[in-house]
Structures are given as C-alpha cells and as structure tokens.
C-alpha cells in the first residue's frame, strides 16, 4: 500500500453572511496518497475551493468558520495546529495555485521578490541564493530570459506566464502536495493545454501529489487518477477516473458527463445541461441535495440524505439511494 499523505474527515465549513449562515462544506471526507492526482469536479459554488482552503485554514475567518472535521497531513491534524505550525506546512509541504493568475500575484511587488519569499522563509537561504533558485525555477516552467524578468511586475507578464510563475513559486520548496484550484479556467484554450502539460511534466520530474479542481471533465480525464464529484457541499461520487467515465453511478455525475461536448460525433450536438439551479446553502440539507433536479428521484430521497458508500467496483463510492441502471432503489 502506498503512503497516505492527506486524510480529510467530516470537514464542515460555514460562512456567516448578512443573509444567513452559508453551509458551504457539509461533511466532506477524502484522502490523497503519495504521488496520486485527485480531480475534484462540480459546478460553481459547490464548495470545491472552500474545502481545500479549509484544509490549510486559509478560509477568511471571519466570515468563515470550520465547524467540524479533521484534516490529517501525514497523521497530524492541520485543523488543530496553531498559526506557527500550519505556516510551516503552507507553501513548504502543501502549496496552492489559483484560478485567476491576473489577481493571484501581488501587483505592486516584483516577481523576483514574490518568488524569494517562500524560499527564504522555508529553506532559510539568502537573498542571493533565492534569486538564483528563482531563475532556475522560472526556467523550469518555461519562462524565457528568466534572469532579466525577475525585476518585472505581474502586469508585464501575460496570463499564461503568470500562471507559470505561480506554479514555479508553488513548487519552489518541493511540496508533497500541490492544490491547483481551477488553474486553467481563466486562460485561453491553447494556453490551458500548455499549463496542463507543464504540470504533468513537473509531476513526472518532482513526483508531488496533486489535487486538481476544475469544471472541465475533459482535463480531469487526462490528468487525474481518481475523481471526486462535489455537489452542494458534499462529495456525492468518488471513483478511479476510468470507472467514473465508464460507469457513472450518481445522476448528477451522469448529467455532468452528458454535458461534455462529444468530439467524435459527426452532428453538432446541443450541450446537455442539468435543469434547475444549484442549491442554496442557507440550510444544511437533511434530504438529498440533488433531489429537486434529479430525474430518478424517489420518496426516500426527500426523507433522508444518502451517505457516500462503496458500490460496484473497488474504490467506487456514491451517495445515492437509487441504482441508475435499473431506476430502482438499491
């Protein structure tokens, strides 16, 4: 058995807003092994980012609050660590990159200075050494004339280049886990592919585990070993990537897969979309959160919220009362 790096149990995070308490994450459990790549998919607002930010205690508090759960990193619960302890994990052992490279770098600080920060902090090296290391890192992610570009500011880089800088910075201290929160959503299609290829190459070279959050099931298929599907603050299905695509078990996952454009079909197919709106999260759901939009809904679904349980092949887990192949309750 490979080593388990991250083990999140029963994570619950809420936001206290003027309109009421938003139940953003409602008891999420997942794990990540050494060297593994986990894809996390789900529509906007389902709690993907908040889940990952919570693990590193990075949700803004207030208004956010982690109300329950554990996030064990190599056996130690990060949620009970004090500020100094968790700072030694952040950026050194678990790094993050974000959706919008236009806003995730500080606009008034030079790239060189921003890159040097984690290096000097976690590796305890000098400014000069950090500079040299930064040049190597920028070259590693494919930034030409890296030495001359350290003094530049983020607005002098293109979107794709900034995301490369973010990746270089995130990997600078050789973390064991890279959390990529929709790192390609804000980029053009060709640049997206380059960034995905870059991360794949770096994964080969450096061997870190990756959590890749995205809307794009196509990208997940190409990069992940395993996929978690989130809905309304829950993980509702989890499976090795091949099984999920071959045999989706949750009506929501089926809907998501159907909404992918099929490139191999001749006729241009209209995008399938799931009817209805994502759930409002002002109340913690007591019934299946997908029930209002589900084609397979049964009475039971309105009475009790299904829990994530193993079903079908090894490693395939789903939270649904109904067997979608037969249309009957299990």
């Amino acid at each position: 058995m490979t080593n388990q790096l991250l083990n999140v149990r029963g994570l619950e995070t809420q936001f206290n807003t003027p309109e009421g308490i938003v139940h953003a994450v409602n008891g999420v459990s997942f794990s990540l092994d050494e060297g593994e790549t986990l894809g996390v998919v789900g529509e906007s607002g389902c709690g993907k980012s908040v889940t990952m930010l919570s693990c590193l205690k990075l949700v803004p508090m207030p208004p956010g609050k982690i109300v329950a759960g554990h996030a064990f990193f190599k056996g130690e619960d990060m949620l009970t660590m004090d500020n100094d302890e968790i700072r030694k994990v952040r950026g050194a052992q678990i790094s993050m990159i974000f959706q919008d490279p236009m806003t995730s770098l500080n606009p008034v600080m030079s790239i060189g200075k921003q890159m040097a920060e984690p290096l000097m902090l976690h590796l305890g090296i000098t400014k000069e050494q950090a500079r040299n290391r930064s040049i190597e890192l920028l070259e590693m992610v494919g930034i030409p004339q890296a030495a001359d570009r350290l003094k530049d500011y983020p607005h002098q880089y293109s979107g794709g280049m900034r995301q490369r800088v973010m990746i270089a910075m995130a990997l600078s201290c050789m973390p064991q886990i890279l959390i990529a929160d929709e790192p390609t959503t804000a980029l053009d299609v060709t640049i997206q592919a380059q960034i995905v290829d870059l991360v794949k190459r770096l994964r080969e070279e450096l061997g870190m585990a990756i959590i890749w959050i995205t809307h794009d099931l196509g990208v997940v298929a190409s990069i992940a070993n395993r996929v978690s599907v989130m809905y309304g603050g829950f993980i509702i299905e989890e499976a090795p990537v091949k099984d999920l695509y071959a045999e989706p078990l949750h009506p929501y996952t089926i809907g998501l897969l159907n909404s992918l454009p099929k490139i191999n079909r001749e006729e241009r197919q209209r995008l399938y979309s799931i009817n209805g709106m994502p759930p409002m999260l002002f109340k913690k759901p007591k019934v299946c959160p997908f029930a209002p939009r589900c084609e397979f809904v049964k009475d039971h679904c309105w009475q009790e919220n299904p829990v994530l349980e193993s079903y079908g092949r090894d490693g395939h887990r789903v939270a649904c009362w109904v067997d979608v192949t037969s249309g009957r309750e299990r």
């Binding site: 500020n83 500080n106 500011y153």
Partner: protein
C-alpha cells in the same frame, strides 16, 4: 520612472494655462463697466470717468489681448520717463490689494508660511494616525477597535467644522485659556520685530526650534493646537474610513490568500502585501487633503483668527476685494497643480503599473 516624471511635468504648463484661463474668464463674465469699478477708488461721478478708465486699462479689448496683458503686464513710462513693466502675474505681480493696503504677492508671502506651519502639524499626525487606525480597524473587522473607529469616523464626518471649532474655543480658551486664538503672543511678535529672533523658514514653530527657543515653540503650539484639532478630526475621520474600506477590500484579494498560502506570517501578509496595495486610494485622497490644507482653510482660520491664506481670502471676500481674491485664487490653483504633481509621482512610486506604462 524618469519618463513618467518628464511626461507629467510637461503637463504642468498646460494645467497652468487652464487654471489661469478659467479664473480670468470668470472675471470677464462681468462687463467692462463693472470691471472698471475695480480701478476707480471713489464711486464714479460721471460716465466720462468710467470711459477713461476703460480706455486706460483696455477693458473692452478682445478677450485674449486682455488675458495676455494680464499674464505679462504692460510696458509704461514711469514718472522719470523710464519704460517699466506694470502688472503681469507671470512676474508675480498679482495686483494691489486695496483692503489690505499691500501687494497681493506680499499678502501671500506673509500669510502662506502661517498656513504651511499649520498644515505641516496637521498632515503628518493625520496621515500616520489615520492610516494606522484604518489598517488596524480593517484587520480587526467588527471587533472593538473597528467599531470605535467607525463610530469616530461617522461623528467626525458629520460634525460641522465651525460648531466644533466654537466648542473648542469655549472649552479650551474661554473657560481657562489653555490654548489661544491668533498666531502668537505679543511678547513673541515684539521679539520678532526686534530682529533678535532669526527667521530661517518663516514657519514660526520650526524657526523656534531652530533658534532653540522652546518657550516660543510652546507659544506657537498653544496657538495652533485648536485649529490643528479642528482640521484633523474631520480629515482623520475621512482617512480612517477610506483606509479601512480600501484595506478590507484588499484583504479579500486573491494575492493576499496567495501570500498566506506561501506560509508568510500574518504581519508580513498585512504589511508587505495588503497595505501597499490598500494605500493607492489613500494617496489619491491625500492630494485633495493637502490642497485643502495649503489653499487655506477658510472656516478654521476665521474661527480661530489665525492669520493664514484662508483668513486673508475671507477678509478680502467680505469687502468685495476682487483683485485680492483673484490673486489668492491663482495661488490656490498653483498649489493644486503642484500637489497633484507630487501625488501622481508618489502614486507612480508605489504602483509599478503606472510607473512602467
């Protein structure tokens, strides 16, 4: 950066032309007859006299002829027959103030140091404390310090200056004379006239320090404290409010989360990443405050009988002394242009997007 500064400096003459054109243009809204009244000391007895004045000063010449003459003055023979220049604001000749019985430029020379003295003692505490409070309030959003700062800034921005000033006068002067209106005590002005006290800068408080006269420094402060408080409480409130909201917005930015995700200490996240970004709108506002303070704070200087530019303007306005008001308006315009220049350069210094564009 150098490029940016040069480009910005090239703008100055354009702005100057604009400001002078507007101010001169406003005066031209009056007809030649009305303007001639500015030059005739007594009420004119007959139309001939008016016509003579209009002719002598060319008050019915085309607009730009008059504007040019106003800028550079005219050449006239003096009593000895030598040709001399008369007027011309470009040469610093702003005209003669009939109510103050001196050249307008001398009013500025006498009064501006007093206004500057007051402004210096207001700006620096205001900037440092206002920004400090705003940042601290934002970082401790909704906690006690934040609530207190918010209440203060609401009261501060809604309490009228003259009421506040009069209250201060009542409490700190009328009741027990801790602090005094005016600029200095008699014994200080006697000392200054005697020439024993060297005026290096003409800012009384600074000169007092340079002369190592703490008694005079204390006297200057005693006269300035009430106007300083009056000027500060509003601007502090505004600075706290703007800094706080800018900081709150910045703290929600992605790059702040990036900074935390790198493992930086919270103090570094705030001081190195959030605060420099949050300062950008504050710097812009600072420009306005500085112009306000240097252009003469009319109400405050009047309430405390403080002999600055603002008081001079108020006195001139009360006596319909158009020449003086015009001169002071031009001077204020000049200050506006210079402070905006300074603020823009400062802004570029903080924000590479401006500097390197």
């Amino acid at each position: 950066m150098t490029n940016y500064i040069i480009r910005r400096l090239l703008l100055v003459p354009v702005l100057l032309a604009g400001v002078t054109l507007i101010i001169f243009g406003m005066l031209q809204l009056l007809g030649p007859v009305e303007r001639s009244a500015l030059y005739v000391v007594d009420f004119p007895k007959n139309e001939k006299q008016i016509d003579a004045v209009i002719k002598r000063y060319g008050l019915d010449d085309p607009f730009f002829v008059q504007y040019w003459r106003w800028l550079v003055g005219v050449q006239r023979p003096d009593t000895q027959g030598n040709i001399v220049r008369d007027g011309g604001i470009l040469y610093g000749d702003f005209g003669y103030s009939r109510t103050a019985s001196q050249e307008v430029i001398d009013i500025i020379k006498n009064r501006f140091p007093n206004t500057l003295d007051l402004a210096l003692w207001t700006i620096f505490p205001m900037l440092s404390v206002g920004i400090w409070m705003g940042v601290k309030a934002a970082v401790n959003q909704n906690k006690f310090f934040d609530q207190a700062a918010r209440i203060y800034s609401i009261i501060g921005t809604s309490f009228p200056t003259f009421v506040f000033g009069l209250l201060l006068l009542m409490l700190l002067y009328a009741n027990n004379q801790w602090f005094l209106p005016g600029k200095m005590s008699d014994w200080v002005s006697i000392l200054i006239y005697s020439g024993e006290f060297k005026q290096y800068t003409h800012l009384l408080s600074i000169d007092a320090l340079l002369n190592l006269r703490l008694d005079i420094f204390w006297d200057a402060l005693r006269h300035m404290i009430m106007p300083i408080i009056t000027l500060s409480y509003i601007s502090w409130a505004t600075f706290v409010r703007v800094t706080r909201s800018s900081m709150l917005e910045t703290l929600r930015m992605d790059y702040v989360i990036t900074a935390r995700s790198k493992g930086l200490k919270e103090a570094d996240v705030i001081n190195k990443h959030a605060r420099p970004n949050a300062m950008l709108p504050v710097v812009t506002m600072m420009g306005g405050s500085i112009v306000g303070l240097l252009g003469g704070v009319v109400i405050t200087e009047t309430v405390f009988n403080y002999p600055g530019i603002g008081k001079a303007a108020a006195d001139a306005a009360a006596q319909l002394d158009v020449v003086t008001i015009l001169g002071l308006a031009i001077f204020t315009g000049l200050i506006l242009i210079i402070s905006n220049l300074v603020v823009d350069i400062l802004y570029a210094f903080i924000d590479p997007r401006v500097r390197l564009s």
